[in-house]
């Protein structure tokens, strides 16, 4: 089994909406790789980019205000910040509570 061989490691990025089958695909590829002769190692990095990264983590609270640090175009676009609004972080804390972070990414007018 496994006609194709690679001589170098490869990064494999899964692209798709939630529910597209990314995790299933990752696991099935991992299982199939383990069945090869010789087996091929597969590391799976699970990530959740729809959760704004800078809303995660409690160690931010001692950093003090960073009014502009997280308003780069890349981060704004990643968080889906509407035009005319800016990401809000004061002393590293989101305005939204932890339970609402998914539903309400931390941007502010």
């Amino acid at each position: 089994m496994g006609a194709e061989e690679i001589r170098r490691s490869a990064v494999v990025v899964l692209v798709g909406l939630p529910g597209a089958g990314k995790t299933t695909a990752a696991r099935s590829v991992q299982a199939a790789a383990a069945r090869r002769t010789p087996p091929l190692a597969v590391d799976v990095v699970h990530y959740d980019s729809e959760l704004p990264e800078w809303c995660v983590g409690s160690s931010l609270s001692t950093d003090g205000p960073r009014p502009n640090a997280d308003n780069s175009p890349t981060r704004r676009s990643r968080a889906g910040v509407p035009a005319g609004r800016r990401l809000h972080r004061w002393r590293g804390l989101c305005r939204t509570s932890a339970s609402k972070r998914r539903a309400a990414p931390c941007w502010a007018a």
Binding site: E4, A10, P18
Partner: protein
Amino acid sequence: MLHSPAAPRLVVLDDNAYYASMRHEAYQVARAGRRPSGQKEMHEDHVRRLSKPPPCVCLLAGVAAGALYVQVHLPITVEAALARNAQRPAAAQQPPALIRRMAERLDVPDPAVRPWETGTVTAGAAEAQSGAALLEAVLAAAAADEPRLRVWQAAAKHRDELPALQVASAILRPNARSSGHN
């Protein structure tokens, strides 16, 4: 089963990667073993402060420079995504509005626009569940990426050498700038 540390391996990023920029960061990590230099400070700052490292940092743990790059696109309609989301346990569900917004903003892999996405495999639901077929498609795409990696490495080497060559050229021709207009 033990794997040799030096043996080739696949590092799969199980993320939505709906913006092309997200995927390009992973591409840069695969090729150069690091994020683009302009983002280095932000990256380190990010890692230091946040408990959740960005996906590229996770990738860095498993990839050395000069890795191959493959994307697997799993297309799905918004309606199907919403239906599957509704079938998940409540704690694992995403807000429907987020899925709709992500669908609107999804940059579908397009090698014609972004040549670095040439190694894209499009997989349907059946292929996603059939690991062997998908694995072979991924490995074929990875093998086809070898020549592109060599081109990238040659270009990177040229970029690295260029500043030194420019300095050497300026030293060898100290009057080059003024002589052209006199």
